[in-house]
């Protein structure tokens, strides 16, 4: 059975789409925030891979074609950004203030918690850039002595958390306007959070896109300085 599935080059893609489809279905049926299609999808994929003793490396290879779409898909965020350009310009000071405050708070909290758990320098550098977009963060992590690929996983799970808890947190914190929703999601959960913001409203999506770009640039500027202090 496993040999047969391993010989099917489309099995990883089919598995990914069906797992995500089941996740979407659960989200529609239950409307429960923890029923996140990315999370359910990934959990199902992991379950099936372990059950079938299917090689994770082979699965990653088979889904490489999907990861190739990430750059073109991300570039499409320019369209909502363009559509909301006027509102973004009008609210630029508020957005920038929120993004900078959030990014600094994130770096400080991660640093303090790493100290609290007595993690070594390598782990601290790996975890520090966790709120910014993976492609920037992974480079920062590697250049400053962190574990690049582990940063990637941590960043992604951070994004999923933001995506997962986004709607609930907005309600709890009474963030009702799309500007603060977008800043919160984009600063804390980068691209994956932005994907959630786009679901909330096109304006929140545009704000979130701007927030993730600003947060990424800001953190990459101060990151080398912080690492010197570690």
């Amino acid at each position: 059975m496993v040999d047969f599935l391993s010989s099917l080059s489309l099995f990883p893609l089919a598995l990914t789409f069906s797992a995500f489809g089941i996740g979407l279905w659960c989200q529609k049926k239950t409307r429960f925030p923890l029923c996140n299609p990315i999370l359910i999808g990934a959990a199902l994929v992991i379950g099936v891979l372990m059950l079938l003793d299917y090689s994770p490396e082979l699965y990653q290879e088979g889904t490489d074609s999907l990861s190739w779409f990430l750059t073109p898909a991300t570039i499409c965020l320019a369209v909502p950004l363009y559509q909301q350009l006027k509102i973004l310009k009008k609210n630029l000071p508020a957005i920038l203030t929120g993004v900078l405050a959030g990014s600094v708070a994130g770096l400080v909290v991660v640093f303090l918690l790493c100290k609290l758990f007595a993690l070594d320098r390598q782990f601290t550098v790996t975890l520090l850039p966790k709120s910014i977009t993976a492609s920037i963060a992974m480079v920062l992590s590697e250049e400053n002595g962190g574990i690049e690929s582990l940063s990637g996983v941590v960043i992604l799970i951070t994004g999923i958390l933001g995506n997962l808890l986004g709607s609930t947190l907005c309600k709890l914190l009474k963030l009702t306007d799309p500007i603060s929703q977008g800043v919160a999601l984009g600063t804390s959960a980068h691209l994956v959070g932005t994907s959630k913001a786009t679901e909330l409203s096109p304006l929140a999506g545009a704000v979130s896109t701007l927030a993730l770009v600003v947060a990424g640039v800001f953190v990459s500027l101060i990151f080398p300085v912080i690492c010197q202090l570690l």
């Binding site: 990315i38 994130g106 306007d177 919160a184």
Partner: protein, 120 residues
């Protein structure tokens, strides 16, 4: 046919983004350059919005599925993660909540302050 040209536009900007990333020695991902270039092209009218609108809304709505396979990489890094599992989980959850709350609330506070000034 219109979808073909829309996909080609998006691919063109991806390629330009990759090119800039290769030329400019900064840790900025190709996608960020691509966003900026496409935004400039749209703002200057070089490309009309409806020349990319359909395909971009399709790509944006399909984006979450692209994150499924990368999350499962956790399997491959389990050896590194498991000794520090509690620490990593606490750090991820707490810091995500803090960044979310600080970023959102500061933005809300800034806007409210600005609104109060304008009204009174």
């Amino acid at each position: 046919m219109k979808y073909i040209s829309q996909v080609l536009y998006i691919l063109l900007f991806s390629a330009l983004g990759e090119l800039l990333q290769a030329v400019i020695p900064l840790p900025v991902p190709a996608a960020i350059y691509g966003i900026l270039l496409l935004l400039i092209a749209l703002s200057t009218g070089l490309i009309k919005e409806n020349a990319v609108a359909d395909v971009s809304s399709f790509f944006l709505s399909a984006m979450p599925i692209l994150f499924v396979a990368p999350v499962t990489k956790i399997l491959q890094y389990w050896g590194l993660i498991s000794p520090n599992l509690v620490a990593i989980c606490v750090i991820m959850v707490v810091s995500t909540l803090v960044v979310f709350a600080v970023a959102g609330l500061v933005t809300k506070w800034y806007q409210k302050r600005k609104g109060d000034k304008e009204n009174g």
